[in-house]
Symmetry: C2
Subunit: 151 residues, 2 copies
């Protein structure tokens, strides 16, 4: 598969590929609308306006093959520690097993360290057991329960 | 106990009381330093500089009795949904059972709705089973595993 991925900030031109990845998933298929990109483009503007948001894509040979969102969260807990939160990690179906997921998470960890974070956290749907093993291998501890409330 | 809580933005004068609550906890006791407030005051400046951060305290009769941090996170997932993340929920030991925890979370839910969020999420240490029942009663679903990595 090669390991020539570039990880860079997402741009408006990447939105169709990102939404395609979000929708190509048993959970995502129910909640995304790849035929109507307008709400996603508006959301990208909100992300771009927030210096603590880092939405990135992985590109290989000119094609967007992965994505991830990193949020930097200052706080008082743990002696004023800043933490980062990883959301919306996706790898194109035909790129799985190539090490790209690992590369994306390692990028997020490195960027978190560079930005002064003391903690990286993420949640993963309880049904995604493969993902849980993946995060465990990368050194994460499944120490918490993740609660959600739809408004 | 009365229900006359005011929920308002945290200020530098509130930091000793907030840190006291963070430290008065089996998990927090190991990782906070109430005798050295400098890192907390620096962190408060970082929070104040970020318009997507809302660190609040609950005050009753001039005393800080609770705290919570709400982070607003735009994103592409779920048709460009903005979500909020609740962190660092604490209620003073002598105010527990007064309904203040519920009031704080209801404030966070209302504020999230007002700010256009479609989803509220939080994580809770797996050992805090009382907290899990509390969030369940407030309508949250324990749908996720929460992973953390210390840097």
């Amino acid at each position: 598969m090669g390991d020539h991925f570039e990880i860079r900030a997402a741009m408006a031109e990447d939105v169709p590929a990102i939404v395609g990845m979000l929708a190509d998933d048993p959970l995502g298929a129910q909640r995304e609308s790849p035929d109507d990109l307008a709400p996603y483009l508006t959301a990208l503007q909100r992300l771009d306006a927030d210096p603590n948001q880092h939405l990135v894509v992985a590109e290989r040979e000119g094609r967007v093959v992965g994505t991830l969102q990193l949020t930097i969260v200052p706080g008082l807990s743990r002696r004023g520690a800043t933490r980062s939160i990883i959301e919306a990690v996706r790898v194109r179906a035909d790129e799985r097993g190539s090490g790209l997921g690992t590369r994306l998470i390692e990028w997020a960890i490195g960027e978190s360290r560079r930005l002064g974070c003391q903690l990286v956290q993420l949640t993963s749907d309880r049904t995604r057991t493969d993902a849980h093993r993946f995060y465990d291998r990368l050194g994460f501890t499944a120490s918490h329960m993740g609660f959600k409330l739809s408004l």
